[in-house]
């Protein structure tokens, strides 16, 4: 009975390890090569074109939002008089 239980445990462990091997391979060495390339690009843009896209999106939302917030502040500071 105990030997069967031990065998079942081994089968489960083997199945799980095969599954995780199929889904994820170790890509760290290639990432290390990409990010250690001596090209002077700062880390926040060094990953490629999608980095630049995300940066531009973030910066435009931030600056645009700030301008809008200051505009709303100006509007709120001078309430329109109602007759």
């Amino acid at each position: 009975m105990l030997r069967n239980l031990l065998a079942l445990r081994q089968v489960t462990q083997r199945t799980i390890s095969t599954t995780s091997r199929r889904h994820f391979e170790n890509k760290v060495p290639e990432k290390q090569k990409l990010f250690q390339e001596d090209n002077g690009i700062p880390v926040h843009l060094k990953g490629g074109a999608s980095d630049a896209l995300l940066y531009r999106l973030t910066m435009s939302l931030t600056l645009g939002g700030t301008v809008y917030a200051i505009y709303q502040l100006a509007m709120a500071s001078f309430p329109k008089k109602q007759n």
Partner: protein, 261 residues
Amino acid sequence: MTHQTHAYHMVNPSPWPLTGAFSALLLTSGLVMWFHYNSFTILYIGLLTNMLTMYQWWRDIVREGTYQGHHTPIVQKGLRYGMILFIVSEIFFFAGFFWAFYHSSLVPTHDLGGCWPPTGITPLNPLEVPLLNTSVLLASGVSITWAHHSLMEGKRNSMNQALLITIILGVYFTALQTSEYLETSFSISDGIYGSTFFMATGFHGLHVIIGTSFLTVCLLRQFKFHFTSKHHFGFEAAAWYWHFVDVVWLFLYVSIYWWGS
């Protein structure tokens, strides 16, 4: 191209502190626009830019540490000090809410009926869901320790399982606490009892969600082979934060749920 001859980390210029600071402005002015002018736009932009900043800032730290090798032992020491000091600041944050609770509950005023819980308040039974919540978080403390030891011993499968269990327990706590919030006969506006209860447990719940997110990021990094058995500070930082969240709950349970009933 000149390279450094020291073991410290001179970071590349980064736009994220700026976007982070502006997102804080947008969050606060967004709240004002929501409270006073019934407008959500600035708040949404603030939340979005805040999320984008956090994602890219922490992505860059992973790149600097795991891919570029900048996290030398001395740099790691600084990161450890940083995380410890941050958690200490959070302890002080919660200390304020506990002060408020004890100030009001140790000397209950006449308008509360001179007693605690105040007249008219039916507190939750500490031996029901709150006790289950306590066991859930204590168990998650055990599973995260199991995950850490598995990681240090190079047992990849055990580590994945144990970390996943920890995250599931964190989500379970949040789900249980949400259902408890819907079950209470009192709300945040029910006097000082309601205020202290929901401010303290509410901020704790938020920290559980933050901790669970941090652990989930660690799980994804673990799947991608970022951690080694000797170098895994991101995981250790998440584990410290998680233990802190657990300890705060224990104080909440003993003070508010148990003594306070």
